[in-house]
């Protein structure tokens, strides 16, 4: 037996005393020790001096104590030394007689250590009893819960939309980072604040309040509310505020999750889009009106037709021109507006264009409202889709009536000119007679000889002689007819002297010759005096004069290949009595500058030699002068003067 009185021994002693029997006492003590060893909670009994007096089996198993530790000071036992204040706490417990608790982290395990006073049978406090309750699992689940909470919080803080949780009485409990940033408030400022006081009372809205109330009562969410609020950081923003009830299983308390969605950008974008849309619509409308106005007002007659050739649009000009409406066209058919002679070829050409899809070009006469037919050039073009199928025909009528008239007039004036060529001079008249009469005359003479010859044969060839005589009558009559025609021609162009501007005459002739000039690649330079006085003359004859001289110059340059062909025309008024015209070419030049004016003189392979002779006789008839000068290698200059109209001179 040990000298020290350990608790068990004390207990045993106590029991012994109580029972008054040693044997009974020992049995009870052993029983007690067995019970203590069966308990899985480690128990350590310390004496007043903090030395170990007893520990149970769990103490050895769980805390790693060994029998030799009995009697050792608590500070020398590693597991107990982990509680630095243990000795003092034990003293306090002994002094106060009341138990205390301390946490212990031992290895992987967590314990709550209860320190309670140890009393002996005399109710004297002899030390302390330490019981180690293992709270490791509990500790772990606490940690887990804390971890989950932090994790959730972090998630909420990364949500860009502001969120807050309200208590049932609409006070703010907590919010996420976005909420505090958006409203520019801190957690402390808003903790417990009624929602309605938030943001200058902007959320103090009857529908929203009713909404929240109903939601708390009934549950299902209603339509979110849209509010505008001015924020210190971000300015005016439009928010969509929504609320969802939150309930926790096993908790009667209800909370509300309020979400704010910033729709400012979206609303702005929508507004911008709406604006853009409207502006585009407006532009399209304006453009459409513009185009339609163009089509309606261009000085052309525009039409459209279906792929099968059916006319389905006519612009206003067409309707105005024909003084009809679209219904008339549909009712009567387009051929009704054409000149009767043009109907058949036009229908054929158009049917062909529709069948082949080839561009349609035609000239037709279209009846105007007053019944007059005017010439139009018609152009049609097929529009096609991506598969090259004709989707529509677009067409134009272009009024070419005036052009046609002008062309006619030009042809007439050219005819007049050539008539003038034939009738201008006596010399030319003679040439014309020679030309026109010689053939029948030659035939008459030959037939006369033949007739005589047939009569003189033996026997006389009377039938042949008669044929020859008949031919004499026929050809003689024709010669007479030629003379009559030439006389008529001569009468047709009487000399008509009027005041004339030579510059104008030159311009007219240049216009007539423009085709020839372009065809033969001749460059024309004109230098026409502004102050050229008028002359008195026959317009046709003077045109003929200039025409012959210009054509002569142009033809003289035909063989030129090594230098530019240039024709210069100059009018001057050097002498007060006369107007001077110089026509210079860069042709081969002349050998004899006087002989050129003689009739039948020609250097051209196909010329009659009449052109310049005619010029000379025209000039003579107008009391002017005509001469030619030729410089070696630099072409020829033809000059003529005409007396100016004296009354026209200042």
């Amino acid at each position: 037996m040990t000298t020290q009185r350990d608790p068990v021994n004390s207990a045993r002693t106590g029991l012994e005393r109580a029972n008054g029997s040693d044997a009974a006492t020992n049995v009870a003590a052993s029983e007690l020790i067995n019970i203590l060893d069966a308990v899985e909670v480690p128990v350590i009994v310390l004496r007043r001096d903090s030395t170990i007096s007893y520990f149970n089996k769990a103490g050895a198993d769980v805390l790693g104590l060994s029998p030799s530790d009995t009697g050792r000071a608590s500070r020398d036992i590693p597991v107990l030394a982990a509680m630095p204040d243990l000795e003092k706490q034990c003293s306090d417990v002994i002094a106060a007689g009341a138990e205390s608790r301390v946490n212990l982290h031992h290895g992987e395990k967590w314990f709550i250590v209860r320190i309670s006073p140890h009393t002996n049978v005399d109710l004297k406090v002899t030390g302390t009893v330490l019981t180690f309750t293992n709270v490791t699992a509990f500790h772990a689940s606490i940690n887990q819960a804390i971890h989950e909470r932090e994790f959730t919080k972090a998630i909420l803080n990364t949500v860009a939309d502001p969120l807050i949780v309200l208590s049932a009485d609409h006070r703010i409990q907590t919010g996420n980072y976005a909420f505090y940033t958006m409203f520019g408030v801190s957690r402390d400022e808003t903790q417990g604040l009624p929602l309605w006081e938030l943001g200058n009372g902007v959320l103090e809205l009857a529908p929203f309040r009713a909404h929240l109330k109903e939601m708390l009562a009934v549950g299902p969410a209603r339509q979110p509310v849209e509010v505008d609020n001015v924020f210190t950081v971000k300015g005016l923003r439009t928010l969509v505020v929504d609320a969802h009830p939150l309930s926790f299983p096993g908790h009667s308390e209800r909370r509300i999750l309020v979400t704010f969605r910033d729709v400012t950008e979206r609303k702005q974008a929508e507004a911008g889009l709406r604006e853009l849309n409207e502006s585009l619509e407006k532009q399209v409308r304006i453009r459409t009106e513009e185009l339609s106005s163009i089509i309606e007002t261009i000085p052309g007659l525009v039409w459209c037709a279906a792929p099968d050739g059916e006319l389905n649009y006519l612009n206003r000009r067409i309707l105005e021109y024909t003084a009809t409406n679209a219904d008339d066209w549909a009712r009567l058919g387009w051929t009704c507006f054409l000149h009767p002679d043009d109907v058949e070829p036009t229908v054929r050409a158009w049917s062909n264009a529709v069948a082949t899809g080839q561009p349609y070009d035609n000239q037709i006469r279209l009846r105007r409202s007053d019944g007059v037919y005017r010439w139009f050039s018609v152009h049609g073009q097929a529009a096609r889709d991506i598969d090259d199928r004709v989707t529509r025909w677009y067409g134009l009528f272009i009024d070419i009536c005036d052009r046609k008239t002008a062309e006619e007039a030009l042809r007439n004036s050219q005819t007049q000119l050539s008539r003038a060529t034939r009738t201008a001079t006596v010399g030319e008249f003679a040439a014309a007679i020679a030309h026109e009469i010689n053939q029948p005359l030659a035939a008459v003479v030959t037939n006369g000889h033949a007739c005589l010859r047939w009569l003189s044969t033996q026997p006389p060839g009377l039938a042949k002689a008669q044929e020859a005589a008949e031919r004499i009558v026929r050809d003689g009559t024709e010669a007479g007819e030629v003379v009559r025609r030439i006389r008529a021609l001569f009468k047709h162009a009487p000399l008509e002297k009027i005041e004339l501007d030579l510059n104008e005459v030159i311009a007219e002739v240049l216009h007539l010759l423009s085709g020839e000039i372009a065809k033969r690649r001749v460059g024309v330079e004109t230098e026409l005096a502004d102050d050229l006085p008028t002359v008195i003359g026959d317009r046709v004859q003077l045109q003929q004069l200039v025409f012959n001289l210009l054509l002569n110059g142009i033809e003289a340059m035909d063989p030129i290949l090594d230098r530019p062909k240039k024709l210069s025309i100059r009018t001057t008024h050097e002498n007060p009595e006369t107007a001077l015209v110089k026509i210079q070419d860069t042709g081969v030049g002349l050998e004899d500058s006087e002989k050129v004016f003689e009739a039948f003189f020609t250097t051209k392979g196909n010329g009659m030699g009449m052109g310049l002779a005619i010029c000379r006789s025209i000039i003579d008839a107008h009391h002017g002068r005509l001469w030619a000068a030729s410089a070696e290698g630099s072409g020829t200059t033809f000059s003529f003067t005409l007396p100016v109209e004296t009354s026209a001179r200042p």
């Binding site: 053939q439 030959t446 037939n447 033949a450």
Partner: protein, 210 residues
């Protein structure tokens, strides 16, 4: 009219001129063929007879002068030009190019018939010459190469001996060749053979023997 009677071709674009000429020339017992243009004339197949061509100067398309240029081969008929214009440069050109006559319309029967007769006579002679020459050429074609070699010596009057020495063959052989030449060329005398050689244009010896 016998098959060798001459024919007159008329090319004029004026039908009245064609008709009257046709009538007049027929009345003189000549054959006539008329054409309205140079092209018509060129297309037509001509009979092998003495002929002349009355050609208008001013023809549409190919002109009279141009047609004249196209007819430069030997057997074309002689040309009589007729013209409605007294165009001197053209008539000069026509005459220089070998026309027989140039008549201005209107012309007399005498002028025309004289020109036609002239032209036909010229054509007859030309045809005769062409026939003779053809006959000579046929005879010449019968000669062997050696005989053709000997012929120039004969017509130049060299003795057989000289010719034999020059050609390096025997004198007797030369005598045989000479006989053959006379026979094949149907020459009755040496003088005739010389004329024949002349007409055939047989060249003189370039290297006469010494």
């Amino acid at each position: 009219m016998n098959p060798d009677s001459p024919i007159v071709f008329v090319v004029d674009d004026d039908f009245r001129v064609r008709e009257s000429l046709c009538s007049l020339i027929t009345s003189r017992g000549l054959h006539v063929a008329v054409f309205g243009s140079a092209a018509e004339f060129l297309e037509c197949e001509k009979p092998d007879k003495p002929a002349c061509l009355i050609l208008d100067l001013q023809l549409p398309g190919t002109s009279g002068l141009e047609l004249q240029h196209q007819l430069t081969n030997g057997d074309a008929p002689p040309i009589v030009f007729i013209s409605g214009h007294g165009d001197i440069p053209s008539s000069v050109r026509a005459m220089k190019a070998g026309a027989i006559e140039f008549l201005s319309k209107p012309f007399s029967e005498q002028e025309l018939m004289h020109a036609i007769d002239n032209a036909i006579t010229i054509d007859r002679i030309a045809r005769q010459k062409r026939t003779e020459l053809a006959e000579l050429q046929r005879h010449y074609g019968l000669l062997t190469p050696r005989e053709r070699e000997v012929l120039p010596f004969v017509v130049e009057g060299y003795a057989n001996k000289v010719t034999a020495a020059d050609l390096g063959i025997s004198e007797i052989t030369i005598g045989v060749h000479r006989g053959q030449i006379m026979r094949k060329m149907a020459a009755k005398s040496l003088a005739e053979l010389v004329r024949m050689a002349d007409k055939l244009g047989i060249h003189r010896l370039t290297n006469p023997p010494k």
